[in-house]
């Protein structure tokens, strides 16, 4: 069953974006937004507020690492998966320090990319949405009442 999440795919290559959108359609049921560079991604992040971002590293105008920093400025809890065709250790470590939740090489087999995305959703997004749902169903005041406090 697909997850009800909004996703944004950021890559300057149309083919890569299409590939990722097709893959994501099987995993999520929410809106999928596309951006062609880091600057567009930052702008769309503010307007669309996606739950998950797939962000390319090498892009014109504003690269992925700078875009990651700006997105994390907007939302420190943003869930971002970096994607790249050339995974240099320095870049991977910079992404990790910049707050990326995961990192995927573009030449990774499709099923493995799907697994990584699913694992990221389950680790970073499902606990949050479950907490949110629990909060909505049982507001803090009602919870303390049921416990007799």
């Amino acid at each position: 069953m697909p997850y009800d999440l909004k996703v944004m795919v950021v890559d300057d290559d149309d083919h890569v974006r299409t590939f990722l959108v097709v893959l994501l359609r099987k995993l999520v049921s929410g809106a999928i937004t596309e951006a062609r560079n880091g600057s567009e991604a930052v702008h769309l992040y503010q307007t669309k507020q996606p739950d998950l971002v797939l962000l390319d590293v090498n892009m014109p105008v504003l690269d992925g690492l700078d875009a990651l920093a700006k997105i994390r400025e907007i939302n420190p809890d943003a869930v971002v998966i970096m994607i790249t065709s050339l995974a240099m250790r320095r870049v991977v470590e910079a992404a990790l320090q910049g707050g990326a939740c995961n990192f995927v090489r573009k030449d990774t087999p499709r099923n493995q990319i799907a697994e990584i995305v699913t694992k990221t959703i389950e680790t970073y997004l499902l606990p949050v949405s479950q907490e949110r749902e629990a909060g909505e169903l049982n507001p803090p005041v009602a919870q303390s009442d049921t416990h007799g406090n």
Partner: protein, 75 residues
């Protein structure tokens, strides 16, 4: 008189080095913080940083970070 004579005796490497004005290292002390700093610098600047890593290694790096974050959260 007037002729130079060879001095007999010490022809050890230390004496030869002293003669050439080269100091012989007697002891080396390493400072761990300095070494770690140098290692960090090397990792960020050298070929090590430019090393292309595969998806397994990437996943390992991120899994370690996740575990570390979870441990911090628990504390």
């Amino acid at each position: 008189m007037g002729t130079e004579t060879e001095k007999p005796g010490d022809d050890s490497p230390a004496a030869a080095a002293a003669e050439l004005g080269v100091f012989e290292i007697q002891e080396v002390k390493y400072s761990l913080p300095v070494m770690l700093k140098e290692l960090q610098l090397e990792r960020s600047q050298s070929h090590f940083a430019k090393e292309i890593i595969d998806q397994i290694e990437i996943s390992r790096i991120f899994a370690q970070a996740r575990k570390a974050r979870a441990r911090i959260k628990q504390l």
